[in-house]
């Protein structure tokens, strides 16, 4: 097979993995810290896509500077939305049945889908082209936007790692993950940290949407497919682990892209086969820790 095709597909896979990482790291953080399976995470990703689309295409015009502003807007809008959702809707449900939280995050999908349709209409919102030029590789082209996205994904992984290992707030969140009760009894404002954690996870989904939209276009319901794959990512990588989200995204990204190329019938099936095999060997996922049951 043509080596340049493989190179191009590798960039494809890395691009796809980066987007998956941005989404699934947020999903995984929220689950790891709060034990909430946020079904609406894909819908938050969708909102992020529309926000960047609006800022770049409808308002400012397609260039790198407005892309960055678009990302910032997505982070702020979706992160803020996350904080509001946590404060107003989720907080009253703490200590109650988990089913209620699931129902709530599911309801949010429906609500956000409709809100998006109300604001932007039901039609697909596509970028006319990707920002930046393309680099020729043999007979093919690799958009510089792919390389940018991969670097952005890795930078976010590093920043998250530094946040959780170097800052007091990051360490407080880890303490709270182990025991919210004891953390609170030690004077840590756990209410604020829960809101911050959900906001951070949502902001990552928003950023993912902004980064994805130039290639994948914005549409109502665009979060549904990606949320399913993100769940596969964090089950493979281990719930609550950033490293796991990174590795899981790479595994899912590469197997998806190369299966499409080699054996399209198995495209999605392979991901679930990998997931099942990993779960057989290590039920907590590659980097997952035993989750202590909360009292």
């Amino acid at each position: 097979m043509d080596i340049s095709l493989i190179v191009v597909q590798a960039f494809n896979a890395l691009f796809y993995a980066s987007i998956l990482f941005l989404i699934s790291s947020g999903l995984s953080l929220i689950y790891g810290i709060m034990r909430i399976l946020n079904l609406s995470h894909g819908a938050l990703y969708m909102v992020g896509a529309y926000v960047t689309y609006t800022v770049v295409i409808l308002w400012l015009g397609l260039d790198w500077f407005s892309m960055i502003l678009g990302y910032l807007a997505s982070i702020l809008v979706v992160g803020g939305l996350g904080i509001l959702v946590e404060r107003i809707l989720l907080k009253p449900l703490y200590g109650k049945s988990h089913d209620l939280q699931l129902l709530l995050t599911f309801a949010l999908i429906l609500i956000l889908d409709d809100v998006v349709k109300m604001i932007w209409g039901p039609e697909y919102r596509a970028f006319p082209k990707l920002p930046g030029f393309s680099i020729p590789v043999g007979d093919f082209q690799v958009p510089i936007y792919f390389i940018f996205t991969v670097l952005l994904g890795f930078s976010v992984a590093i920043v998250l790692h530094l946040f959780f290992t170097r800052t007091t707030v990051g360490k407080m969140i880890r303490a709270m993950t182990y025991s919210p009760e004891v953390a609170s009894a030690l004077g840590i404002n756990t209410d604020r940290l829960f809101a911050l954690s959900f906001g951070l996870g949502a902001a990552l989904a928003g950023l993912a949407g902004g980064v994805a939209v130039p290639l994948y276009t914005a549409s109502p319901g665009m979060g549904t497919e990606v949320i399913v794959l993100s769940f596969a990512v964090i089950v493979i990588g281990g719930m609550g682990s950033i490293k796991g989200a990174l590795l899981g995204s790479l595994i899912v990204g590469f197997s998806r892209v190369f299966m499409v190329m080699l054996f399209p019938v198995m495209e999605i099936a392979l991901i679930y086969i990998i997931m099942a095999l990993i779960l057989l060997v290590k039920p907590t996922g590659l980097f997952g820790m035993e989750m202590r049951e909360r009292r």
Binding site: T168, M172, R174, A175, Y178, S184, A185, G187
Partner: protein
């Protein structure tokens, strides 16, 4: 400062766990809360700390002559008023180092002076400051749990079975620490389930608790002399 509860009634999962519990602890005294397993000691401490909300009854904090009701306040608010918890089972954060466990409780990098003060009580901790919580021995965990409470400069510390399951040497050194803390004017409410001897000369006074009710309040020697109370608390 004085922390006190009046007539606490606590239900957990449809079961009445505390009824009519009233108790006090003030700065500069060591108060024992004695009772067997399941008597309600931890629940009492947790209710004082705001971790459990009582169905009825009140918790108060008196500071500089001002009385403040804190029933059902958030634990971090109560902690912010100068009360610290040393939880049963220690709950050292396993993936944080000794220093980081102190950092999260302090709310930032612990200043050198405060750190030295705390390490004066526990010189061993100073030598393993970069060790992860998960790698600490039981004794080291207990020392860290107390150190973690101390970096917040509390006026009152609630210690839940601080001497439980530790080697005699460590028990002896923790007893010394508790005496020194009292000397510094800190009030301590400590629970004890089994071995009454090791708290006998440590506590200024005690409460006996049985099946969620305070069945004795007074000096420990009086408690030990009281046949009826002894039978309720130890079944002997």
């Amino acid at each position: 400062m004085r922390l006190y509860a009046r007539d606490l009634e606590v239900w957990i999962g449809g079961v009445k766990v505390l009824s009519g519990v009233s108790l006090d602890v003030s700065e500069g005294e060591v108060v024992g809360l004695i009772g067997r397993n399941g008597a309600g000691k931890t629940t009492t401490l947790h209710t004082l700390m705001g971790l459990v909300r009582p169905r009825s009854g009140k918790v108060y904090l008196e500071r500089d002559g001002v009385e403040l009701e804190v029933t059902g306040s958030k634990p971090y608010r109560i902690a912010g008023m100068g009360v610290s918890l040393v939880p049963q089972g220690r709950y050292i954060f396993p993936d944080l180092t000794v220093m980081e466990n102190l950092e999260v409780a302090y709310g930032g990098r612990v200043p050198e002076g405060l750190l030295n003060e705390v390490f004066q009580y526990f010189p061993e901790l100073g030598r393993i400051r970069d060790r992860l919580g998960i790698h600490l021995s039981g004794g080291e965990q207990q020392m860290l749990a107390i150190a973690r409470a101390l970096v917040r400069r509390p006026r009152i510390i609630l210690m839940d079975e601080p001497l439980e399951g530790l080697a005699p040497k460590i028990v002896a050194s923790l007893r010394e620490v508790i005496k020194r803390l009292r000397g510094e004017g800190i009030g301590i409410l400590m629970t004890e389930a089994g071995n009454i001897k090791r708290v006998r000369d440590l506590v200024d006074r005690v409460y006996g608790i049985d099946r969620g009710e305070i069945v004795f309040s007074g000096g420990i020697e009086d408690m030990l002399r009281d046949e009826a109370v002894r039978r309720r608390i130890w079944g002997v």
